[in-house]
Amino acid sequence: MNVAIIKYNAGNIHSVVNSLRRLGVEPLLTDNAEELARADRVLLPGQGEAGCAMGCLRENGLDTVICDLKQPVLGICIGQQLLCRHSEEGDVDCLGIFDAEVKRFSPSRHEYKVPAMGWNSLYDLRTPLFKGIDENEYVYFVHSYYVPLCSETIAVTDYIQPYSAAMNVRNFYATQFHPEKSGDTGSRILQNFLDMDAND
């Protein structure tokens, strides 16, 4: 299987590469429009700041390339946020695949720390991305911004309030958590993404 990771200046993608290798896939890291269009699967991972990441995608023309992709696409962490309409982080317009606004966590009680860092549980799981994953399984999160619940939410997590732990519209999937760092549960989710029927 031909799996491409979108190459742009947004943090550590080595863990995504390593996790795909553990599943027997050698991913191609590229910012080439043709190579991305040709891939069977495309991943948009990343860490970092949304304004900066969007700037980098636009500079390289990757914003339109991503929106035109027809195969299953998986955004991870900031990748999910970039697929939304707008982010409060850097007050930046994003790719607009998901009709949602990315907001900053604003804890009302001191016990809630930001960034939200660690293992949290998933519920209300939908779509084949979560095939074989039990409700309330734990996955690993590191983030200060979140996507509120919306019609495109396919998994919910609670931190300060319930929010979108994963999203889907058409061929676009995204997770706020890091499947590549979420132990066997995360590996299964990545495998599900690879195994997904292209028409799911």
């Binding site: 863990s15 290798r21 960034p115 660690g118 293992w119 890091h178 760092k181």
Partner: protein, 254 residues
């Protein structure tokens, strides 16, 4: 259903010459195994995160083991932190590039607090763990450098707050009074840190039995608890520990 972030159990592997070791009060090192194999075993046993510390790097000026970090990143599917001997942004870049999720800085941060700003503005707060070794002397928690060899005039609470303000994503607090003694964590100091900081606090030093972990979370209000020898020598099994904590009403990943 338990909601919110789970409390984390973090085995710490002190590494010297490619092998894990654990001292009592920072001296008398004993061998305990291959760091990558041990990491994999902890991962399978239910550890939430791993910390690899090059314990002699800071003292001898050695660079941490980049090759080992690369191997760990290849084989392990949970987050891990690397520390020891990080003194410049280039060290951080090299370790993150090798696949570490976070770096822990200790002596270098006290010597050059601006390093925290540099790391976090370049890579984000989430990669920067500020480790603090402190000892309760003369009614005051004071910070120490170089694996506890050099006393500073920095006070624990003030330094932790400054580290947070500079952008550190977590505080890893080791009580030198408690480390290796197995009488429990420094829960009063932990609780003070947890209640005054807006970033997660990792408890370190003093674990001897499962109740100590419970107390670090309930009394010390820590977000994570780190331990080494009790795990390395099998005195506490991580799976059993987490079952116990869950039974005690603590949110853990099982």
């Amino acid at each position: 259903m338990k909601k919110g972030l789970a409390k984390r159990i973090v085995p710490c592997l002190d590494v010297k010459n490619g092998e894990t070791v654990k001292g009592t009060n920072f001296v008398n090192l004993r061998k305990a195994g291959d760091p990558v194999e041990m990491g994999k075993a902890y991962c399978e046993a239910g550890a939430d995160e791993l910390v690899y510390l090059d314990i002699t790097a800071s003292h001898e000026g050695r660079k941490t083991f980049t090759d080992m970090v690369t191997r760990v990143a290849t084989e392990i599917n949970i987050p891990f932190t690397v520390g020891g001997g990080i003194s410049a942004l280039e060290d951080v870049e090299r370790l993150l590039y090798a696949g570490a999720d976070k770096v822990s800085i200790n002596s270098a941060a006290i010597n050059n607090p601006g390093l925290i700003d540099e790391i976090t503005s370049r890579f984000g707060s989430q990669v920067c763990v500020c480790a603090i070794d402190a000892k309760f002397d003369d009614n005051e928690w004071m910070c120490y450098l170089n694996g506890g060899r050099i006393r500073t005039d920095r006070k624990l609470y003030e330094w932790a707050r400054e580290a947070e303000e500079r952008g550190a994503g977590e505080i890893l607090f080791t009580s030198m009074n408690h480390d290796g003694v197995k009488n429990g964590y420094a829960n009063d100091a932990l609780c003070h840190l947890s209640e005054t900081l807006g970033i997660p606090v990792i408890a370190s030093g003093g674990a001897g039995c499962p109740e100590h972990f419970r107390d670090a979370f309930t009394v010390g209000k820590a977000d994570a608890a780190l331990a080494a020898s009790v795990f390395h020598f099998g005195e506490i099994k991580i799976r059993e520990l987490k079952e116990y904590l869950s039974f005690e009403g603590i949110n853990v990943r099982l």
